[in-house]
């Protein structure tokens, strides 16, 4: 049976009694529904919100729990890298440490994963490299969700000429492949920091979310409760953010979570091509790129940052998959 806090965690319906309009709307809805459907069914439907349901479902999925655990670990690594290693990722000792092989007895020590062609601790660089990837992934996802979500919402809600114009703008940006556009755009930046990469990916990446949001809003807009809300005099902002948004946001969250891993991979690809992040920023993409030169003699120099990158992308995609399965009732 549903817990109370599950229901509270995400309000689908405004609480009655907050203001008069709300109160009237809630009562009106309930009465209308009760005359149509069995009261018992109505009660259960209201108590078990989509989000409460999804959360209960997620808590039981081992894949979700493992990926969340990994992500928490990676985020901690991004915030407190010094807690995971004593070694300095920028200290280069060409005399003693040049391409030293991994030493498994040096558990969690500087030489654990070996040293790269500049005599730097690969383990320390893997730990410190998490920051760039995680920052880019999370900030870009938040950026595209806000930008794409808002434009998609406006296009879907207002329709007509507004929709036509916004949809064409979306088409224009959608026509440029993400990697290609980012290459051209970033080439113009004199110094390419994490924020330059974030900017490029948000500017070129928001269209996917905008399309999903627009589609969801178009469907939700037809619902009876939106019509009822409008009939009761709810304003545009209220209809958009209290009535439509909570019911249209699920597919957006699914797409955004899965895309997050993709943004991390794109950042690494850009850095690998030499048009993403630059030294002295520590990034797995840069490290994989510079490991190319020694891949025949010392494959482990490429292996560890590549493995870290793949595990990170994997964790986010697994989490996105689990969230999608939980939120998509069609798959139940």
């Amino acid at each position: 049976m549903p817990d109370i806090h599950d229901e509270d965690s995400y309000e689908r319906h405004p609480k009655p009694g907050v203001d008069r309009l709300d109160f009237a709307g809630e009562q009106g809805m309930a009465v209308e529904q009760e005359t149509l459907v069995e009261p018992d069914v109505v009660k259960r439907e209201q108590a078990r919100s989509l989000w409460g349901d999804a959360w209960r479902d997620l808590r039981r999925r081992p894949i979700f729990l493992i990926s969340v655990l990994l992500i928490v670990l990676l985020v901690l690594m991004a915030i407190f890298p010094w807690a995971f290693t004593d070694a300095n990722p920028r200290k280069a000792d060409l005399v003693h440490d040049y391409l030293k092989r991994p030493d498994w007895t040096d558990f969690f020590g500087a030489g654990w994963f070996g040293y790269d062609a500049q005599g730097r601790s690969i383990y320390a660089r893997v730990v410190y490299g998490a920051r760039a990837s995680i920052t880019v992934g999370i900030v870009v996802t938040v950026g595209v969700t806000l930008l794409g979500g808002l434009t998609g919402m406006v296009a879907g809600y207002f329709g007509g000429a507004v929709d036509a114009v916004i949809s064409r703008i979306i088409d224009i940006f959608f026509g440029i492949p993400l990697l290609l556009g980012a290459l051209v755009l970033l080439n113009g930046f004199a110094s390419r920091t994490v924020w330059a990469v974030v900017f490029a990916l948000v500017v070129l990446g928001w269209t996917q979310i905008a399309r999903v949001m627009r589609g969801a809003v178009l469907t939700v807009k037809q619902s009876d409760y939106v019509v009822a809300g409008r009939a009761l005099g709810a304003g545009t902002g209220r209809l958009m953010f209290r009535h439509i948004l909570p019911n249209a946001v699920a597919p957006v969250i699914v797409v955004a979570t899965i895309a997050l891993g993709g943004y991390i991979a794109t950042e690494a690809t850009l850095s690998f091509l030499g048009i993403g992040l630059q030294e002295p920023t520590i990034s797995w993409g840069i490290d994989i790129s510079s490991a190319q030169k020694v891949i025949r003699t010392a494959p482990y120099v490429m292996f560890f940052p590549a493995a870290a990158l793949s595990i990170t992308v994997l964790a986010f995609i697994m989490m996105g998959d689990a969230v999608r399965d939980a939120l998509d009732p069609k798959l139940r």
Partner: protein, 308 residues
Amino acid sequence: MGSYVLRRVLQMIPVFFGTTFLIFVMVYTLPGDPVVALFGDKAADPSVVANIKHTYYLDQPLWKQYLHYMGNLFQGDFGTSFTGRPVADIMADAFPVTIRLALLAFAFEIVVGLAFGVVSGLKRGSIADTLVLVLTLVVISIPVFVLAYIAQTVFATNLGWTTPTVQDSYDLTQLVLPAVVLASLSLAFVARLTRTSIGENLRADYIRTATAKGLPRRTIITRHLLRNSLIPVITFLGTDLGALMGGAIVTEGIFNVQGIGNVLYRAINQKEGPTVVGIVTVLVIIYLVASLLVDLLYAVLDPRIRYA
């Protein structure tokens, strides 16, 4: 149908101009003077620079440059690169290679991706299904450039089946490995999309009806299930052809394929404006035509969709 096609083509026009203009702005407002860069270490004579800029229309405001470029484009002239070679020439050399690579990858993606998706979608929860899920997840997680190195090391260096890099870009057999790597990510998406779509449609009423009226399983799957399940997959494939060409930048670079990705990457690095704009314009056209074809294919696949 006719008026729908017309409307779609009309919609494509602003998108075409918008996208090319966007690319134009990104390329030509880049800091750093490409003409001065042509002189390398030598001091550039201002009058020579001005002269070159005048020939390439670079001394005009951006919108005039764009109109001039578009005017030439519709006469089939893609402009001249800063090295003096016509961009159309450069593209005529490189595009056939990339088109072969992309088509090879596309074929691989469709055949293997659909096969994986159908097998795992029909037998949900089986060992084959789990295997497909894990395999596709791994492929999606490993970035393409890492995958390229793994493929190179395993198939070329260790097994010796092929050369690590492509010696002759016109030789199809040498393009197989790069094509497989290029296709891998999309292949995983196709397999997963097909699996989900089949899973949803298996429970549809029309499948139950078909089973109830005693149709053989084979007919149900090929005629009813697949036809309906392929609709979202086709959408993905349509937009993916453009992505394959864009993704060729990484794959062609690592495998040394002398295609459009390689040329484009060099052009971006050398701030070769005309070449970048030319290539991206062609890619945009390919993308737009592909998405139009996808929309038209809908009507063929799904009789419920009728274009007025």
